[in-house]
Symmetry: C2
């Protein structure tokens, strides 16, 4: 050993990150998406805090996958213990997957009492579509006109919210989701939107595809956190079922208490979907997803298909999922998300009132957004939105954006976010907005 | 505390397993597949050994997912350490995924120098098909007539080796894979098999689907470890490419040194595929998969699609994959699989010679099979095969079966299998076969 300590200059770490980027391009290619003009190299995290390769810390206002916090020790302990005990597929009996399925299904109501486990939200939506198509004998799907449900071929065919090369499916109809924040005449908005649904269903039937499913994110996140008028989801669901179709709620973003007052986004509406798909926060980053459905639909699919998924339902993935549920309960995270969400919404209304660049305040619980506009009453400002996100990064807060016009600030922190964290985010956001004026 | 110790009788544990089964049916349903007439509840494992809820130990002669052994401490340590540091998606830079990609790609040759990471083999095959279809502008696919490549819709449409409800795709042609063990006239076998390929390609072109890909498992595992005549894979590849299609090697079963002398199954043939898909053993049970391809194909896909996969390439999955590669290298597992595979093949030939119920000896490296027949020179014996598997379980060795006729014993142990382990398996197999005669 020597008495020298290694010192790293900012220039040296910048060069190291550049080298890493070059090596990434040479292995994963240059199209694999990265955030920020100058990509951010993150080396460690704990709770809602992340540290980059320069040693700078960031408040995480963006990532929902580390649901119970970065490097959550309860999740790490559960995974670690199980890894050292046994990790196998479900063709042998093991209690972990059953215990987890029971705990998870206890958070659902009605007929949603059976579970398929998968390794991702994409696999979950893919499976839900297979079930719906087989059950109905139809192929047609209704989705929103700015949505994303996964990266498989079947899901690419119905992707409207990002670039895919597959042609938009002839069996798909895209619905414009009505935004209740854009008008006071909710009755007319609802009536017109449901007429669109009727037309889409008629078109699917006339073209011979029929209706297999309506697939929706209860928060309409990708769309920019659209707030639908009362009765919309119920109206669509009634019409879809009348046409013989099923309703699939994609809870990959809206689920697991994200909205605070309710465990599942679909519970905001007075109709229960036939299938619910799960993903992102389910294992706090461990690859796990699922489809929750009725005994009838699961049994029908199981009778006609040998469905097996090698990794899904293994005891380690189950232990990860169980630890997330335990931690949420132990720390009462839903109640915290509910009250903190209310507090943030109130503060954001003040922020909006104080800046000409902020339109609507959107979201619920710990998923909130701000419309960024050129000036009061004017149109979307994607460039300003991007500038705000970069400014927030400089100020040590990570957020992103969503929406048709790329102008809705997307704030969706780990569920362990506290009021003190929120105050930092809100203060930096206020300053970033003020700096825009300068 | 009392001085009493809890004792568990066999009857009590049998009842506990029955209760667990009932609870499993009430959550995962009764169609989720289970091995054995009486399902086996496994509670712990280490290396090649597993323990059931009665405390009985089993030699694992079946599971390839725990590639470097059950509860491998190097893998558990790597996952555990990374979980406590950071676990995030690839839209931030992190060195782990790049280091893993470099190490993995170093095992490939030719143009196979780019990597997409996924969470499963199904996701990998799904992505490979998307790439092939987009690149070629065609939809047609050639597969073997008894194969399985995953559980998505696109893969269900080309599944021939297990029950799915989706109609067999009009854009798919199933090839009978020629079996060189069935005849000495390999030249004729090859010629006729390639005529089938020509016919299948012509049919795809005439029907307007064209050829996007030939998708094959280099070991033809599901088919029953079919040994193709020399020149078959090369001949199919030439024809598929002449028709504008790509070649996809599904290495989910054949890869990662399973065959001993080579890291990848496709390296047995003198043609390099355009895409290679990975899964099962890649993370020793941690959900990870991937697609390896050329820079051109990756870039073309990346330019036209915003492909993102939330969990894929996260630093924990990358650490798991890296630990598998490290452990393989440290323990020289490929060389061991190669020499042990040779030893086992020799011993199996003796077993075959000593039993009227054994036909061909199949497989390579640590993936081997035995055709079980009614009597010498007669047809497949699926019932005897099943009886052998149940008998082996009673004798404390886990194996399974594959093949069109469900009559090929499937032996595919963790790669840490030793000669001593092999001797136990072979001894119990000999006794099980002898007991059949009784």
């Amino acid at each position: 050993m020597t008495s020298e300590t290694s010192t790293t200059t900012p220039a040296a770490t910048a060069q190291a990150s550049q080298d890493l980027l070059t090596r990434r391009y040479a292995t994963l290619g240059s199209h694999s998406p990265l955030f920020y003009d100058k990509p951010l190299e993150l080396v460690s995290g704990t709770g809602v805090w992340l540290t980059d390769s320069d040693g700078k810390t960031y408040l995480d206002g963006y990532n929902n996958v580390p649901h119970v916090g970065h490097a959550n020790p309860m999740v790490a302990d559960a995974i670690n213990a199980q890894l050292r005990q046994i990790n196998l597929h479900t063709r042998y009996l093991n209690s972990r997957v059953v215990e987890y399925a029971e705990a998870l299904l206890a958070t659902f109501s009605g007929e949603l009492q059976r579970l398929f486990l998968t390794n991702s939200g994409s696999e979950a939506n893919e499976l839900a579509l297979r079930i719906a198509r087989q059950h109905t004998g139809n192929t047609g799907v209704l989705v929103s006109d700015f949505s994303y449900h996964g990266n498989t071929t079947s899901l690419a065919e119905l992707t409207t919210g990002l670039k895919v090369r597959e042609p938009f499916g002839q069996h798909v109809r895209a619905l414009r989701i009505p935004d209740a924040t854009e008008t006071d005449d909710h009755e007319r908005l609802l009536r017109e939107a449901l007429m669109d649904v009727d037309a889409a269903i008629a078109s699917l039937q006339e073209s011979g595809h029929g209706v297999s499913a309506f697939l929706y994110d209860p928060l309409f996140s990708t769309e920019g956190l659209v707030q639908v008028p009362d009765g919309y989801i119920e109206g669509v669901s009634t019409r879809v079922r009348a046409a013989g179709g099923l309703v699939i709620a994609d809870e990959v973003q809206s689920g697991f208490g994200r909205i605070g007052s309710l465990m599942w986004g679909h519970q905001m509406y007075s109709t229960t979907p036939d299938l619910v798909t799960l993903g992102k926060p389910m294992g706090n980053g461990h690859p796990v997803g699922g489809v929750v459905t009725s005994a009838d639909l699961l049994d029908e699919f199981g009778r006609h298909n040998m469905y097996f998924n090698t990794f899904a339902g293994n005891p380690v993935s189950s232990a990860a999922g169980m630890a997330v549920l335990h931690f949420m309960q132990q720390e009462d995270l839903m109640a915290q998300a509910d009250s903190l969400g209310g507090y943030i919404a109130g503060r954001l209304a003040t922020v909006a009132a104080g800046s000409p660049h902020v339109g609507s305040v959107r979201g619920r619980g710990l998923y909130f957004g701000l419309d960024i506009v050129e000036a009061e009453g004017s149109g979307p400002a994607p460039q300003l939105t991007k500038a705000l996100i970069e400014s927030m990064r400089e100020r040590g807060v990570l957020i992103s954006r969503i929406g048709r016009d790329d102008n809705v600030l997307k704030m969706r922190p780990p569920l362990v976010f506290t009021r003190q964290n929120a105050d930092i985010l809100l203060e930096q956001l206020t300053e970033s907005l003020a700096a825009l004026k300068a």
